[in-house]
């Protein structure tokens, strides 16, 4: 972590974590416009704070936490409470992908956050609990409920390959 050149670090971080931040924001909001706002704000906060990271993992976890906080703030804002609607016309290459993505987006936000971090970012339950600052059992039960909901919606469930 050489902090010698701040802007280089910011640029490298954006290059590396762009999609991670954006995809998480999308998973939480389902809305391109809001996700783009969140995306910018996350990296602006990074630039503003230039926090000291112990490791690359630490940095990644920080970005995830900030992304979650930013989406939370924006979704809670009084202007948007009832308007943060899913973008209906996201395009995917296969209908399966489309259906599964929308199935996840239709879950409650805390479920889809866990789903995204567990299946997509491949964090363990323990790691997710650390990142979200929520206890492990809660994460386990959210994951289980999310899975069972998905099983009802999706043919053949979510877990199988």
């Amino acid at each position: 972590m050489v902090y010698i050149n701040r802007n280089k670090i910011i640029e490298e971080t954006i290059e590396k974590y762009s999609n991670m931040v954006y995809r998480l924001a999308m998973a939480r909001t389902g809305n391109v416009e809001i996700s783009e706002d969140v995306y910018q704000e996350v990296f602006f906060r990074l630039a503003r704070k230039m926090p000291e990271f112990e490791s690359e993992e630490h940095k990644k976890a920080w970005l995830i936490r900030v992304t979650i906080n930013c989406t939370k703030t924006i979704l809670n804002s009084s202007f948007l409470k009832h308007r943060a609607e899913l973008d209906e016309n996201l395009k995917f290459e296969t209908p399966e992908r489309h259906d599964v993505y929308y199935a996840v987006l239709n879950l409650p936000i805390k479920y889809r956050t866990v789903i995204h971090l567990y299946y997509y970012e491949e964090y363990s339950i323990k790691e997710i609990s650390k990142i979200l600052k929520v206890n492990e059992n809660t994460i386990k039960s959210r994951l289980a409920r999310a899975r069972s909901k998905l099983e009802k919606i999706l043919e053949g469930g979510f877990e199988n390959e």
């Binding site: 954006y22 503003r48 202007f79 290459e93 992908r97 993505y101 053949g156 979510f158």
Partner: protein, 659 residues
């Protein structure tokens, strides 16, 4: 259907390259607690303007809007006598902003590019009362905030958004007295002042919101406050928060004169809300600048439109907010709000000058004309009153480009008429108390731009650069006839000039060399360089000594922030934080470098002090030495992890404390 489909689906979700590029650009300009390379904001401003030029059709300068036209013109005529006109009510506000929005469109957020800079003057500043260093400021008697302050017994240091107060009366056994912690994640402690038993912490608080206009289109909307919290630190173990003054806007800069603090902030006005809404549909209060002064109570107050001034011909949809208060009493803070914006500030003991770049494009696009508008405010007893405004051609580099002496304001600018730097010329203007140009030198070093300026009494020293560094010596003893007396051409350039004494000058900058990789000559940096100039004979400035440090990639905050310098002529001492890069971009050292300095011997390396414990440690920013200060014969290097005491004479470590 499976989780693999989910993963594949997510993989199809991509950030657009455009957003990514834009974010990289903008993030580089976001102000962090540390001040870094100033080239970036300039470069991105250039890019932004270049983009604008391709997007916007050329336009004339703004015509005052119908209903206000007469009023404005009348005020312009009376400008010399009267204060600024007031906005008066929301209808006027709406009309003015809407007009500028229509004419200027994309200009609405140019203030976001403001770079924080602070100011320093001509006079050689030696340490005041005790035997300890103080922040390297531009003007004697006008204090500037920094991340570290000391009273000779205690060191106050902003570190990881906390302020640690460390008892250093015994430098072998430093003790932590207390820590002021800011729980609020959104609050960023930026810098502070120490004045007797009062510690004034300047910080910013930014919250992220979304607003929507009448068509239900959503826009992001940051609410930022610049905050000054005054602590009583009489009891070092229990600092007590006495008062908080918050004013809306991004922190531009601040000064402390005597017991009076002056805060300058820029607040963007989100004009996109005006675009699709009529005046009646909008909430008046939303656009008013807000402030909090705990001397008046905890609640947020609004500045009403009948108290808001506007700077005629303002271009930016933003407010310039200035808060002033005395730290020793509970008198309500004086908050002044102007429709307008600022880029750089300079403060003398009695006046505050805020500058703002103004671009006028030619009808056919391409070329443009750039001017700097200067707003002069009188500072007195914690009040700030607008006095005059003036305009000079060109743009200013930083606070050191400006100076005030005997009622005359002096300013150095780089002027250009296109993005091609070949058109650059460098100028110096002298303005009288009414902000009228009375004297000038124009057309210096064509094709180059200013890298540093320093005013010392009746002289100005100016460094411009393309391949070699001319150091100009300009005589200002006759304000109406400034004259170039001499110039010195040497390789490299100085980014900061510091007076050694009346006839000698220290330049700190970068060494350069000309290389040719097969596509023409290029100038590349080649490590840092520090030089001592003899300007006894202004017609023949001489480089007496120079020392080169490291290779390309070597960086010190001093290149962009004068507060990183520790200098004492009496102690023959010059030191600053640095990270040294040798070949292959390998950082070989991070810490502070300490030189002896004298007219007989020039620079003598005394030693290097690192706060890293091991070789690998130097890569961690927590060990990065941010400042070096002295108390008595002890040097203290400060990094977020550690304060370390080193004997100034033997360069032996005397003690350290982990923060």
């Amino acid at each position: 259907m499976s989780k693999k489909d989910y993963i594949d689906a997510v993989n199809e979700i991509q950030v657009s390259e455009k957003l990514k590029e834009e974010t990289i650009q903008k993030a580089a300009q976001v102000k962090s607690k540390k001040t870094y390379n100033k080239i970036y904001p300039l470069a991105s401003l250039a890019i932004m303007c270049a983009v604008l030029m391709t997007i916007i059709l050329p336009h004339k300068s703004i015509a005052p809007i119908g209903q206000l036209k007469d009023e404005i013109q009348k005020d312009e005529a009376e400008k010399v006598e009267s204060a600024l006109p007031k906005v008066e009510n929301f209808e006027n506000f709406y009309a003015m902003l809407k007009d500028r929005e229509d004419n200027y469109g994309l200009f609405y957020n140019t203030t976001a590019d403001t770079v924080k800079t602070e100011s320093v003057d001509s006079i050689n500043r030696e340490e005041t009362s005790g035997d300890f260093s103080t922040t390297n400021v531009q003007v004697e008697g006008v204090d500037e905030a920094d991340i570290v302050k000391t009273d000779g017994e205690y060191i106050y240091y902003i570190q990881n958004n906390n302020i640690t107060i460390t008892d250093v009366s015994d430098n072998t056994k430093m003790l932590s007295s207390s820590k002021i912690e800011f729980d609020d994640e959104e609050f960023n402690a930026e810098e502070m002042y120490l004045n007797d038993n009062k510690l004034v912490v300047i910080g910013t608080n930014i919250t992220y919101n979304v607003v929507e206009d009448s068509t239900e289109t959503k826009y992001p909307s940051n609410t930022s406050y610049t905050i000054a919290s005054t602590y009583n630190v009489e009891n070092k173990t229990e600092p007590e928060l006495e008062r908080t003054v918050e004013v809306e806007g991004y922190y531009l800069s601040s000064r402390m004169i005597g017991d009076d603090v002056y805060l300058v902030a820029n607040k963007n006005i989100y004009t996109y809300l005006l675009r699709n809404s009529t005046c009646d549909e909008l909430e008046e209060d939303y656009f008013k600048p807000r402030y909090v002064d705990t001397a008046l109570g905890e609640e947020t107050k609004y500045i009403n439109y009948d108290c808001i001034y506007y700077i005629p011909e303002f271009e930016d949809s933003s407010y310039l907010n200035i808060a002033a208060f005395n730290i020793t009493n509970e008198e309500p803070a004086n908050i002044e709000s102007y429709l307008g914006a600022g880029n750089e500030i300079y403060a003398s003991n009695t006046n505050l000058y805020v500058t703002k770049g103004k671009y006028n494009y030619e009808e056919n696009g391409g070329n443009y004309d750039v001017d700097t508008e200067i707003y002069k405010f009188n500072l007195k007893d914690a009040t700030c009153t607008f006095e005059k405004s003036g305009t000079v051609p060109g743009t200013v580099l930083n606070q050191f480009s400006m100076d005030e002496k005997d009622g005359y304001f002096r300013i150095a600018t780089t002027d250009s008429t296109s993005w091609n730097s070949e058109d650059n010329t460098n100028n110096l203007y002298v303005l009288n108390e009414n902000m009228e140009i009375v004297g000038k030198v124009e057309g210096l070093a064509p094709g180059e731009r200013i890298y540093s300026v320093r005013f010392m009494g009746d002289r100005a020293y100016m460094v411009t650069f393309v391949q070699t560094d001319p150091l100009f010596v300009i005589d200002l003893s006759n304000p109406t006839n400034p004259t170039v007396l001499g110039e010195l051409k040497i390789p490299g350039y100085s980014k900061y000039l510091h007076p050694y004494d009346d006839t000698h000058l220290i330049g700190i900058g970068e060494d350069t060399k000309v290389v040719n990789y097969g596509y023409g000559d290029q100038v590349v940096t080649n490590g840092m360089k520090m030089a001592l100039f003899d300007v006894t004979d202004p017609n023949n400035p001489i480089e007496m000594y120079n020392v080169k440090i490291g290779k390309k990639g070597t960086y010190s905050e001093i290149l962009n922030n004068h507060k990183a310098l520790l200098f004492s002529k009496e102690k023959n001492l010059i030191a600053f934080p640095i990270s040294i890069t040798e070949d292959d971009y390998n950082v070989t050292f991070q810490g502070a470098i300490v030189y002896g300095i004298s007219l007989d011997k020039g620079f003598e390396l005394k030693g290097k002090i690192t706060n890293s414990q091991s070789n690998i440690d130097k890569y961690y920013s927590r060990n990065t030495v941010q400042r070096i200060i002295y108390i008595g014969d002890t040097l203290y290097t400060l990094s977020r992890s550690l304060i370390k005491a080193t004997d100034m004479n033997t360069m032996e470590t005397k003690g350290s404390i982990i923060l």
